[in-house]
Symmetry: C2
Subunit: 287 residues, 2 copies
Amino acid sequence: MIMYLNGQFLPREQALIPVEDRGFIFGDGIYEGVRAVGTKMFEWAWHADRMENGLKGLRINFNRAQIDALEAVCERLVQDNGLTDGEAFLYLEVSRGAAPRTHFFPPATVPPTVFVSASKLVVPRKMRDEGCSAVTFPDMRWKRRDWKTVNLLGNVLARQAAAEAGAYEAILHEDGIVTEGAATNVFAVIDGVLRTHPLGERILPGITRMVLMELIAEHKLPLREEPIPFAQLDGASEIFVCGSTTDVTPVVTLDGKPVAGGKPGPMTVALRDAFEARLYQAAGTAR
Amino acid sequence: MIMYLNGQFLPREQALIPVEDRGFIFGDGIYEGVRAVGTKMFEWAWHADRMENGLKGLRINFNRAQIDALEAVCERLVQDNGLTDGEAFLYLEVSRGAAPRTHFFPPATVPPTVFVSASKLVVPRKMRDEGCSAVTFPDMRWKRRDWKTVNLLGNVLARQAAAEAGAYEAILHEDGIVTEGAATNVFAVIDGVLRTHPLGERILPGITRMVLMELIAEHKLPLREEPIPFAQLDGASEIFVCGSTTDVTPVVTLDGKPVAGGKPGPMTVALRDAFEARLYQAAGTAR
């Protein structure tokens, strides 16, 4: 596997960083996960917007032009790793760089660490068609979930708990409301209306979520962009999770109990199919 | 500078880790900061207890015997880096190791990454004698502050804000109470009684704090181990912060305004001096 690190294309074994990198010492970095269909990055501009916003939030010196230059890096990694045939997942991370440990930002002369890798993406089709199971889990994360930082222990522990319960995803809640999934955004249908947590510091502005917002408007589906009360989640008539490695995946089992009839609901199916159409249309390919 | 990484003693330039280390990708690691006086680690057992608790919390496979074996590594680093003469700060980190990125824990065959470094410690004597300034800042951290993880962005941003305001430390608050400092625990004297946040998930169990609890009992000082209401902080008659790189340091200016008379208060001074005596006594040296 060929990776990109600080201007160089290297085999995995040679992609090494100083142990004093602030990513390793403080989780002091911003990342992105971008999906490629063929060699084309899906919704690159939105991913770049989000990355720019996070880097500005943390005040890491890596500007929009530098972010946008990584699109060609991603394309080359898809090529060099022989991933042009199907879909790929591009992981990008920019940390504040390596410096002797102190909380305070290092001098501006310390360059950020820039890392990109590509791997084969397989969104499990059976799960997308028939639905997945999820568990609920407390949201333990820090307060700026809108910045896609690598302070991810709350996500790691939630997702691990899901896996150990035989589930695909953990749906997070705090203060009596559903925030999002450990690696996805969450939608539910309550009283016939689609509901999802509004944007803000409490959730990640998912790119798939943004696409869905357009599709919901196009399809004139009823929507309230309001928090889902945690107590109402198990009475929802539909639940789905969405994200760049998940597409739109129905949740048909929650904490071991079937959601509604245990089958994907009609709005979920409509959005899943509309999203898929948009994905392959954007890539200029048919599935 | 000689560092320890995964069983080897190496010069800093050679202390490299795979970019896919979970410390870099998820902040998935536990650290410690230990103080050495001469070649002796101060309160090693308490640091080891805390590290063990954090590693168990995150379920990283690194046991107590492995932690305790790092004491000799620390001693050697103090020697090899010529730090035996004064004081040193030992930084220890154990991450979940390097593996292709996925939230789920990697197989048990992936070894943790183990890193130790030593640097000269200089607790600013003038500040310890005359006091420091602090600012207040929202506590943005995740919910398990009792585990000393490297998910430290909330601390980094708070401490940077303090530095930019010309202050030494940021005192964190949430939900109307004072939790702790960005790199210290916080005590205040309110109505003549010492007050500090009780142990639990909301604060780090500081080693200096633990020593102080013994000294407070020894000196029969009045104590309530209860949260300090944020609204009462600026009416406190004394405030101090404490930690392994801070000792007991009086806060004499808060958000630009003098605390009480702008001078270290009597309980603060008593504890600062008692702590210092214990520190050098433990090391078997006189200052």
